[in-house]
């Protein structure tokens, strides 16, 4: 007789309902475990004790008023990109082309700054910069959207390709402008400051932060309360239902991606016009990808993206501070960030599923032991066949 195979004691069941508090607890629990693990790794790598590590992190992110401003600005930028990508994600359109859309926006701004910065009045330059960066970002959102709408082209793969096409366009622009030598565009219009975005309230960080605040609120209401937001959510849930009520699915995809791309383009404008005043192929520092994770971690809720962005920026700054203090490479932050992301990603499972331990199996077993004699008899019967 064949041996009975693996008795399944654990069994995964999809959760039907989960209260907000349990969900939050699971997520926070995952973050805490990840932070503890990060602390252990940091301690091992640097020889500092965990308390020192903690204070070093705090110091890296909030150690001085300048550090606080930069942390806030970086958080605002990451938040802005996450928000920009969100409408597309709510439509279940996997736009991983944020990088490219930002670069194109930055390219548009840099192009105007370098070509017209010193020949046109500053108001016109700014306007041109805004228009060109938003237009190029939107264009980079439009291309994968129209392909998806017309031919159902896989958007993950097409947006990925467009990222590198944008990178190469920027590289091309740079060597075109600086054909010899370093191939680096320094600070653009350093003397005239033409095309530099205005400082608000005496701080050059304020503009980005203010725009982030405004857009976070606007996007929340756009996605959740506007008619267009409603349309894109219906398209994301079921294209058939959308068609059934006369929503033009293709147009909604294109419109939403134009908005997503335009907002990314705006971030490019802020990076070039307000933050860095230069353009490089790595000006996004991979934030276009990080933002995808932020948006997803926050369940596409713009307000939850605020703490999520802050957490990531904090870890990054803190780890850099730590690493440079002991002479280690600053990529240390990316390792820690990766670990935290793994835990948050993994914790999603416990929100969606629960593990059912087969309790009734135990009950059956105890029943069986009571009726053991009977079972044996029936077994014997079987042997005779």
């Amino acid at each position: 007789m064949k041996k009975k195979k693996h008795e399944k004691l654990f069994h995964m069941v999809k959760r039907d309902d989960i209260s907000t508090s349990v969900r939050v607890a699971i997520k926070l629990g995952a973050i805490v475990i990840a932070l503890v693990l990060c602390a252990v790794i940091t301690t091992v790598a640097t020889g500092y004790n965990p308390v020192e590590v903690f204070f070093s992190f705090i110091d890296g992110a909030f150690g001085s008023s300048r550090k606080i401003w930069i942390t806030m600005q970086d958080t605002a930028i990451l938040l802005l990109i996450s928000i920009a990508l969100t409408p597309a994600f709510r439509m279940r359109f996997w736009n991983i082309g944020g990088e490219g859309q930002i670069l194109m926006g930055g390219l548009g701004a840099a192009f105007v700054m370098m070509n017209f910065g010193e020949s046109l009045p500053s108001g016109v330059v700014m306007l041109l910069m805004i228009v060109s960066s938003i237009f190029l970002g939107a264009l980079w959102g439009f291309i994968p959207a129209i392909c998806k709408a017309k031919w159902n082209t896989n958007e993950t793969l097409s947006t990925l390709m467009l990222n590198y096409i944008a990178t190469q366009l920027v590289a091309f622009f740079i060597v075109y402008k600086v054909p010899s030598g370093s191939a680096v565009i320094g600070i653009i219009n350093q003397k005239t400051r033409a095309g530099w975005m205005p400082e608000l309230f005496g701080s050059k960080y304020m503009l980005t932060i203010l725009i982030a605040v405004i857009l976070t609120i606007s996007l929340y209401f756009y996605v959740n309360n506007s008619k267009q937001g409603y349309e894109l959510r219906v398209v994301g849930e079921s294209e058939k239902t959308a068609q059934y009520v006369g929503i033009k699915v293709g147009w909604v995809i294109v419109r939403t991606m134009i908005i997503s791309g335009a907002l990314c383009g705006l971030v490019g404008l802020l990076l070039v016009g307000s933050k860095d005043h230069t353009i490089t192929t790595t000006i996004t520092r991979g934030l276009g990808f990080t933002a995808i994770m932020v948006s997803w971690m926050a369940k596409f809720n713009p307000f939850i993206m605020i703490p999520a962005s802050l957490l990531i920026v904090f870890m990054n700054k803190g780890a850099n501070n730590m690493a440079s203090a002991v002479g280690l490479n600053e990529s240390f932050g990316e390792i820690l960030l990766g670990i935290i992301l793994f835990f948050i990603i993994g914790s999603e499972f416990f929100v969606n599923y629960k593990i059912a331990i087969k309790k009734d199996r135990k009950k059956n077993n105890s029943e069986k032991s009571e009726n053991k004699g009977l079972t044996d008899v029936s077994k014997n019967k079987y042997e005779k066949y």
Partner: protein
């Protein structure tokens, strides 16, 4: 009578999906060399029960014995090892692979397609199948795919074969062929479970009938010793006296006129052929036909969802002005002022958004109203509350995503919404599929109420008894063609049944409108 050997015995099987009880304490025995019909209404838990036997689902509690030995079936592989194979209603085939590759999928050992093809040919000869082993699945017709599925299961040498509503997609000739094959398999000593809700098939093919009702095992009958009435009673739970009111249409006027409609699907197969008919206000036009013979395409074409090859659909106002609907999408139709409501067959996939709550689903039809940028949630919330109260929708709240509601409640929400915007035309596809008797009657009442208010109703149904009782006229479709339009009051089941399966226009008395 010879001693019957138990092939499979299921004891006290219970399975829940969230709050939905799919099976409760079900006992079922299958004997060697018999064909057992598993009979039950839609949603009675037949498929779930068999999915547990074939390893797709795992029971919450209960025991399964195969050949007298208790077993744990944790995966389809376990089931195959025990000689159990299932042909699912939705075929489990890989489209880009060939028939032969699909058939040997999951087997062990070296890949030897030639040997596999020989064995396939041998199986085909033994039971009378025709399969081209090198044909890709995506090039196959539905019945070819089904044949591949059955050969796949036989290839594994199963002794217990489960067929889930195999005839739903077949023509009568194909069904006859399938039954022929099934008899061959039975003669070969195999046990077959056929899931169905068609009584004539039960009588034709099976030795025994086991009946489920709302997830519970009701009992078993010997086919030869029972009759349709008894089976129906057990299936439905009480002596069904279908008693749907039917009033005379008041002042019927032509409302929708369909002329010469032809529809071809993406794969180039003709789905609707030269269909013409008229829908009148204050009248219910029933549509009868085997599932998949053009009903879906016809309704979607009228609703502006399906491109047509030729033909016209005219909407006729009370004053006689006509408007062509072909070429308009649902939004244009709505903007044109044509109040057309449509309860599609696929409720959660098309009519509603499963992940949105009841209020948000109310907005689907009306969210564009007004010039404001933002949606107005107040009115939909009122409509939602109204529907929940008057139709007695069982829900924890208006914020509950509709996918969490039971089938009947989902349908109430959908029908409620569709009639809430005072339609002139109402189309329903399988409006009571999977619903319990009470919900079904509520839906019938709602439809009749619409009729009284002068709405032109198109009622696509699968239960002929219901169609005969509710419809003023019945349009019978056969393979995409109109085989006749008959008077619902004077015709009988046999006539309609015959018209559904064969185009015999000349023999049939039908009124041309």
């Amino acid at each position: 009578m010879e001693k019957r050997i138990e092939a499979v015995k299921m004891q006290k099987i219970t399975k829940n999906f969230g709050q939905v009880v799919a099976n409760k304490d079900v006992n079922l025995t299958v004997y060697k060399g018999e064909i057992l019909s598993l009979l039950g209404e839609n949603g009675s838990g037949k498929t779930t029960l068999m999915n547990m036997l074939s390893g797709i689902y795992f029971p919450d509690s209960g025991e399964i014995f195969v050949n007298g030995r208790e077993v744990t079936i944790g995966s389809p592989k376990d089931a195959f090892d025990l000689g159990i194979g299932m042909v699912h209603q939705h075929f489990k085939l890989v489209d880009v692979l060939t028939a032969a590759e699909n058939i040997i999928l999951g087997q062990k050992g070296k890949l030897d397609l030639r040997a596999a093809k020989e064995k396939i040919a041998e199986i085909c000869n033994r039971y009378g199948f025709v399969v081209d082993p090198d044909k890709k699945i995506y090039n196959m017709s539905v019945s070819e795919k089904q044949t591949v599925e059955i050969v796949k299961v036989l290839y594994r040498g199963v002794d217990i074969l489960i067929l889930d509503e195999p005839t739903a997609v077949l023509t009568p000739q194909e069904t006859e062929k399938l039954f022929h094959v099934m008899r061959n398999m039975k003669a070969d000593g195999k046990s077959i479970v056929i899931i169905t809700h068609k009584l004539n098939e039960v009588q034709e093919i099976s030795d025994r009938v086991a009946i489920l009702r709302s997830g519970e095992y009701i009992g078993e009958l010997i086919t030869a010793k029972t009759n349709p009435q008894e089976m129906t009673n057990m299936m439905v739970g009480r002596q069904v006296v279908l008693n749907i009111e039917r009033e005379e249409p008041v002042n019927p006027k032509p409302r929708i006129r369909v002329e010469g409609l032809n529809i071809v699907d993406i794969e180039g197969i003709s789905k609707v052929k030269d269909v013409s008919f008229t829908m009148n206000s204050g009248e219910i036009l029933g549509v009868a036909g085997i599932s998949g013979c053009g009903q879906k395409e016809l309704l979607e074409a009228i609703a502006g969802l399906q491109p047509v090859v030729s033909g016209s659909v005219k909407y006729i106002e009370d004053d006689g002005t006509e408007a062509e609907l072909i070429g308009m999408d649902p939004r244009k139709i709505q903007e044109k002022g044509v109040a057309l409501s449509f309860v599609p067959e696929d409720r959660l996939g098309m009519g509603l958004v499963g992940n949105m709550d009841i209020t948000d689903n109310m907005m689907l039809r009306t969210f564009r109203e007004g010039k404001k940028l933002f949606t107005d949630k107040r009115k939909p919330a009122e409509t939602a509350k109204d529907i929940v109260d008057t139709l007695k929708v069982k829900t924890p709240g208006l914020e509950t995503p509709v996918r969490k509601l039971s089938g009947g409640n989902v349908q109430k929400v959908l029908v409620g919404r569709e009639i809430s915007n005072a339609p002139k035309v109402l189309m329903t596809a399988y409006a009571v599929r999977g619903l319990d008797i009470n919900s079904s009657y509520l839906i019938y009442d709602l439809i009749n109420e619409q009729k009284r208010e002068g709405v032109a109703v198109l009622f696509v149904g699968e239960d002929l008894d219901v169609l005969l009782q509710i419809s003023d006229r019945i349009l019978v479709l056969c393979d995409g063609e109109v085989s006749g339009i008959v008077d619902g009051r004077t015709t009988d089941k046999n006539t309609v049944g015959l018209m559904m399966t064969s185009l015999q226009k000349s023999d049939q008395v039908y009124e041309k409108i």
